[in-house]
């Protein structure tokens, strides 16, 4: 039974995905029951495993694919960090999406790919070897495309095309990196450090760069970020999925795996590739914020904010010290909770009040108090104001920068804080302080849309207020660091 657990977790998303594809468009009830059932079951399984893994257990399943090629699924503390984030947010997003779409056409296709996407993300989290990781990573790329293109209008198709144009060359780079590396070391398992001495430092640096190219596209590192703001043409649940649950997180998670489980922090420092990556991440942080400042569309501003915030995770990983790493891992969860809140709210403003532009937010606060409170708290968390979760990440990343001999990280964090304030606070001011335009309408009588936003907000608040407790994302990240799941 325990050997099957990783597979079971994968199947909770995969089975609904496969069945949903064959469902009639009109069978809303069955489809929703499948999606929700899978999501609830998955969360339940994960809660069970959180207790087991906290007690020291680890689960592993090996599935032979071809001679010399195995699919290795493994559940350890690091895998659980990512999988519990994506499973919880998947559940929230499913509830939200069911309410968001109602009875629109092509929903079987949508929810099928939606579940498939989450299955791929789960696979990425559980992958115990490079090649398993790659397989699921590619599955994610392909299953996301129909979601971005879901509306089938000009803008969506263009966005989806742009997504593939970015994704495929980078996948090629990733494959190249894996083949180059494994041709010298044999199959790379994340639990056993590969012997890298057979490769000269220059080749190792090149392989590292290819890995970053491969994962950096999904993590939206500048200049590979262009697809993410373009993908804003997709419906709000997809944005939530791209920005918080699956796609950008998969990229950042890949960077973490490569730094800690393929190369190892010591080797990264020895090769001198950590600091350049940290610089790149910092540039992304600043650049994303500067671009966010110039957007007039709510979702676009949020998208550039993601570009900036996801690089916090990459920055933490690149610093390759314990504090930076803990900060980066915790931010993986923190950013997910805060950003999904913001996207849920942006979606509610869109469908309940018809508001997409920032100017349209004027005076919506008193009219939609729950949504606006959630949005405000999420935005304050992004700025990094206590007690929302963001400030915890910032403290750990700052100390991590000092610890790794990169004090300029503090300047980046300070600049990012001020820029975040500059592009979020005017929104809050509009929401609560300006008079609404006379023809404005809008309400929030849609509990299935509002409740997920409230839960995500409470999660982000709890992650900050209770940061020091063992059950917080920070506590779990600290457990990962102490246990040495990542070296």
């Amino acid at each position: 039974m325990t050997a099957l657990l990783p597979v079971l977790i994968l199947l909770t998303s995969l089975v609904p995905a496969v069945i949903t594809f064959f469902l009639d468009q009109e069978s809303h009830l069955l489809r929703n029951a499948l999606s929700l059932g899978g999501a609830v079951l998955k969360v339940a399984l994960i809660v069970v495993m959180l207790f087991a893994v906290a007690g020291g257990a680890a689960y592993e399943t090996t599935i032979p694919l071809a001679p010399g090629l195995v699919l290795l699924l493994r559940i350890d503390a690091l895998a659980l960090l990512f999988v519990s984030l994506s499973a919880t947010l998947w559940l929230l997003t499913t509830i939200y999406a069911i309410a968001y779409f109602g009875t629109q056409p092509e929903l079987s296709r949508f929810f099928g790919f939606f579940s498939l996407c989450v299955a791929a993300t789960t696979g990425i989290a559980l992958s115990g070897s490079l090649i398993s990781f790659f397989i699921f990573f590619e599955l994610l790329t392909l299953s996301t495309w129909p979601l971005v293109a879901h509306k089938q209008d000009e803008a969506s198709l263009k966005a989806a095309r742009s997504y593939l144009l970015y994704a495929l060359p980078c996948s090629a780079a990733l494959l190249w990196a894996i083949v180059w590396l494994e041709s010298a070391t044999g199959p790379v398992l994340f639990t056993e450090p590969p012997d890298l001495d057979g490769l000269d430092p220059m080749s190792l640096r090149a392989i590292f760069a290819l890995f970053i190219l491969g994962f950096g596209m999904k993590a939206a590192i500048v200049p590979l970020h262009g697809w993410l703001p373009a993908a804003m043409a997709a419906p709000a649940p997809v944005s939530a999925l791209l920005h918080a649950v699956a796609v950008v997180k998969a990229g950042a998670f890949g960077v973490i795996r490569v730094i800690y489980d393929v190369f190892g922090a010591a080797r990264v420092a020895e090769l001198g590739v950590g600091i350049p990556l940290a610089v790149l991440a910092s540039a992304t942080i600043i650049w994303g914020s500067l671009r966010a400042l110039q957007q007039h569309d709510i979702k676009k501003r949020l998208a550039f904010s993601t570009v900036s915030q996801v690089s916090y995770i990459v920055l933490g990983a690149a610093l390759a010290g314990p504090y930076g790493m803990i900060g980066g891992l915790a931010h993986l969860v923190h950013q997910g909770l805060m950003k999904i809140t913001l996207f849920f709210c942006a979606g509610i403003y869109d469908v309940r009040a018809g508001v997409r532009s920032i100017a349209g937010l004027n005076g919506l606060g008193p009219r939609m108090p729950w949504t606006s409170t959630c949005f405000s708290l999420g935005a304050l968390g992004m700025i990094g104001l206590p007690p929302m979760a963001g400030f915890v990440s910032k403290i750990y990343l700052g100390i991590g920068g000092l610890e790794s001999g990169a004090p300029w990280v503090l300047a980046v964090l300070a600049a990012s804080t001020l820029l975040n304030a500059a592009y979020f606070l005017p929104l809050l001011y509009r929401l609560w302080f300006l008079e609404p335009s006379p023809d404005a309408t809008g309400d929030e009588n849609a509990p299935a849309l509002v409740v997920p936003a409230v839960i995500a907000t409470l999660g982000a608040l709890g992650a900050g207020v209770l940061a020091a407790s063992a059950v917080s994302p920070l506590g779990w990240a600290t457990l990962i660091a102490e246990r040495g799941d990542i070296r």
């Binding site: 970015y166 500048v222 700052g398 100390i399 300070a414 020091a468």
Partner: protein
């Protein structure tokens, strides 16, 4: 009865106002939210009176909360809680006015932060509390939602965020140097580490913004007068003390001493002089606050024994300044000439205390400080009393010139009683704590020399002050350096050069935005596979070959 005075009490002192803040959001309380305000500081006040010294920990909260009490914390927190209580009572007439639920909620939140600053023993709790007191107070400043209040709010939020960020970075450097989050440890590490001076400079900036240290004080003369009277009282009396206490907690003894002394003195004299160009009595008081806080920062810079006595001075100033602001409120609500005279008389008495007139609390506070000072610093202190006397005479003049309310507000005697209590505490507080804080007996305070020391600055100040009433200085809007920054002008005259400058800034900003957008397009073109893909294919071919 440890449960009422023991380790749970510091937590209760923070959680209780926080809960009240949450209550104000409930529809049932929204209309009556102001009624909750006097209850918010009660646990903190009880803690200051009866709390047992010791350390309280809540290891699961934030990054591990540790709270504690010692003599300085008890004194300042007691003053703060008492002033918030008095101001909360003074806010009662606001009940039923628009936006008071928001005001009350953030009032409680600001109070939580203000108490937290005095209780925190670790850096993270301190930072969180400081952020709360700093940022939540924005809602107190903009409460009236007039153009003036909103402008003050803009200046306030920009400076507060800048302060927040420099504080965070400074604290992080300190925590990394100390290898821990204990505040004592951080102060020691900042004195010893190489990165110490950078961190100290950042902390001075962060705290300096809060205490109104020249030249970081520009928000203060805008914000304190813009807020409703009870909020002005806590802003000037209690909230600025959070920054002062931060300096005492974190700056190593003597670090940046001469800088702090110079800037403090510049504030002590400069602000007192500039205050004479103000016609709004609340703005005059705000400048007086900048002046008094400058004096206290100077003492922190002087270090040693002087620094130890700063909380004693802050105790007096908090109550006195709170009382003066509330007296402005009482004056605004009075119409009867007798009532107005009464107001003026009380204001004169409290002002005399601030100026250090013999036998007042203020005289005692200054006498307590002097033994720790060099002769030059002592002279500066006496001279600053001259400046203080002049600006407060000006304040009394402007207070008297406030327009008559036309009809006396209801419960006017009650309204007057609140500043009288605060003023009484300013008089009595230093007497009460004199022996325990200074180690001197009362004979020392009542001796001839301190009395003469306290008397002559007031005497010297009176002729120029009276001359000023006759030939007043040109009147300016509040904001001094900010006005210079924006181009000299007054609110009544439109500022042509200001708008020109702004347009210039606008153009620059637009050009920058355009450049960034253009660069972005370039990046997108670059990263589209048009170049990437062929390069990869070629490289792979090369590898195969």
């Amino acid at each position: 009865m440890m449960i009422w005075t023991g380790p749970l009490l510091p937590l209760a002192a923070l959680v209780w106002p926080f809960l009240l803040a949450a209550l104000t959001a409930l529809p049932a309380f929204r209309g009556r939210a102001v009624r909750l305000l006097p209850f918010a500081p009660l646990p903190a006040l009880w803690l200051a009176v009866a709390g047992v010294e010791g350390v309280t920990t809540a290891p699961g909260l934030l990054l591990g909360v540790t709270l504690g009490l010692d003599a300085a914390r008890r004194l300042l927190m007691g003053m703060t809680a008492a002033l918030w209580l008095i101001a909360g009572l003074a806010a009662q007439p606001m009940a039923g006015k628009p936006h008071t639920a928001v005001f009350s909620g953030f009032w409680c939140l600001t109070l939580t932060g203000n108490i937290g600053v005095f209780l925190a023993l670790d850096v993270v709790t301190f930072y969180v509390a400081f952020a709360a007191v700093s940022l939540a107070a924005w809602f107190l400043v903009v409460h009236d939602r007039t153009e003036v209040a909103l402008r003050a709010g803009r200046v306030y939020i920009v400076t507060a965020l800048a302060g927040e960020v420099s504080l965070l970075v400074g604290l992080l450097i300190g925590a990394a140097a100390a290898g821990g989050v204990d505040i004592e440890g951080v102060r020691i590490a900042l004195g010893a580490s190489d990165a110490g001076p950078v961190a100290v400079a950042l902390l001075v900036t962060g705290f300096g913004i809060k205490v109104g240290l020249v030249p970081l004080h520009v928000w203060l003369p805008l914000a304190h007068p813009a807020a409703p009277v009870p909020a002005s009282a806590v802003l000037s009396g209690a909230i600025v003390k959070a920054g002062l206490f931060g300096m005492i907690l974190f700056l190593p003894d003597g670090a940046f001493g001469s800088v702090l002394m110079a800037l403090g003195l510049a504030g002590a004299f400069g602000a007192a002089l500039w205050g004479l160009t103000q016609s709004n009595p609340k703005a005059v008081l705000a400048y007086s606050t900048v002046s008094q806080m400058g004096l206290m920062v100077m003492l922190v810079g002087a270090g040693g024994a002087a620094r130890e006595t700063v909380p004693f001075l802050a105790l007096h100033h908090g109550f006195a300044k709170g009382a003066l602001f509330l007296l402005v409120g009482a004056m605004l609500a009075a119409s009867d000439r007798r009532h107005r005279m009464l107001c003026l008389a009380f204001a004169a008495a409290v002002s005399a205390s601030v100026a250090g007139f013999p036998f007042t609390g203020g005289a005692l506070a200054k006498a307590a400080v002097k033994p720790g000072l060099t002769d030059a610093a002592t002279l500066a202190l006496s001279l600053s009393s001259v400046a203080t006397s002049i600006i407060l005479v000006w304040f009394l003049f402007r207070l008297w010139l406030l327009p008559n309310a036309g009809k006396t507000a209801t419960h006017w005697p009650l309204r007057l009683s609140l500043p009288v209590v605060a003023g009484g505490l300013a008089f009595a507080g230093p007497w009460l704590f004199w022996q325990s804080w200074t180690g001197h007996d009362f004979v020392y305070a009542l001796a001839m020399k301190p009395v003469i020391d306290a008397l002559w600055p007031v005497a010297v100040a009176l002729p120029p002050a009276l001359a000023l009433l006759r030939w007043s200085l040109p009147q300016r809007p509040p904001g001094d350096l900010l006005l210079l920054l924006q181009g000299w002008g007054t609110l009544s005259i439109p500022m042509p050069d200001l708008s020109l400058r702004w347009a210039g800034g606008r153009r620059l900003f637009d050009a920058l935005a355009l450049a960034i957008a253009r660069a972005e397009r370039g990046l997108l073109r670059w990263s589209l596979s048009s170049t990437l893909l062929p390069v990869l294919v070629l490289a792979m071919l090369a590898l195969l070959a």
